[in-house]
Symmetry: C2
Subunit: 181 residues, 2 copies
């Protein structure tokens, strides 16, 4: 089952470990310079992040991450198998975490967070003027706080390290640049 | 060896798989809402990305990623155990991939790429006015191309999906916003 992938060739694969959250694989490959070798990588769910603008303020979630400590992020999470694509996932995560729904949604593309480690993408969405209803965070998110923070302040939070999530930072900066004079 | 981590409690750990590139672990935890459970995660090397500005053009590397396909990125890579911190890693990766050295270096903070999956950080650096010498890319980067691209065009590349690396995108947008009128 040899398969060309740009200058790489894939020859086969063994799973190294399989859990409900992630799978690690070792692929047999030929590297771009022609030598045989292996490539270890992780299959993990795609993610979504949402810039939700309510009266020029962004909805920001504040949460203690088990691996990364306290952090501001844009609302978001994993794309579930039950989601019909990243837009549905973005709308579901925004509603679960913040209670906000609807508004004018725009596709902001997708990013690779760690392209050497995992093919997982982070899909970016924005919504202007969503309306509040009741939030329903997951049990593991019991400490999640939702804030309304002016876009200009969120930009400062990216620069001073309060918002250290790469995809959130990229999306905030995109929005800020688009709105700069 | 119980240890508090914000609203989480760590109780112990087993390695699920260990390779030279990554280690997957399962931690025994108490979740923020008080229930016992497990948390699977991946230990992988920290990364660096460098915005290197030469005459208002950024050095951009173009490469086929085995997991993610063809992609533009800012120069960068893994922080090696031999590097004395992320600045040394950033200077080494810039020199290896592009041949450029020196210039006026600035610390641009760090980002978490996938904070739910891995504690790995991407450290961001910029250098203004580095000078060319000879590049020495790794064998696995035999297809790496280096381009000089005006900052305004790199911003467009972030928006149209040519530059899909999250940390590169965030750093480019930071620089562009800083330089916008």
């Amino acid at each position: 089952m040899t398969e060309r992938r740009g200058p790489w060739t894939y020859h086969g694969r063994v799973p190294l470990c399989v859990t409900p959250c992630l799978t690690a694989y070792r692929d047999e490959v030929t590297l771009p310079h022609g030598e045989r070798g292996t490539y270890d990588w992780v299959l993990a769910p795609d993610q979504v992040r949402v810039a939700a603008l309510v009266d020029e303020a962004l909805l920001v979630v504040e949460q203690y991450h088990y691996l990364a400590g306290p952090m501001w992020q844009l609302p978001g999470g994993s794309v579930d198998p039950a989601d019909r694509g990243s837009r549905t996932a973005a709308q579901r995560e925004l509603a679960e975490e913040t209670g906000y729904r609807d508004g004018r949604w725009d596709d902001r593309g997708s990013l690779h967070a760690l392209p050497g480690l995992t093919p997982a993408r982070v899909y970016l969405w924005s919504t202007i003027g969503p309306t509040p209803s009741r939030a329903a965070p997951e049990p593991a998110e019991a400490d999640l706080l939702v804030r309304h923070i002016p876009l200009s302040e969120v930009v400062l939070a990216v620069l001073d390290g309060r918002m250290r999530c790469a995809a959130s930072a990229a999306l905030v900066m995109m929005l800020a640049l688009e709105r700069s004079p």
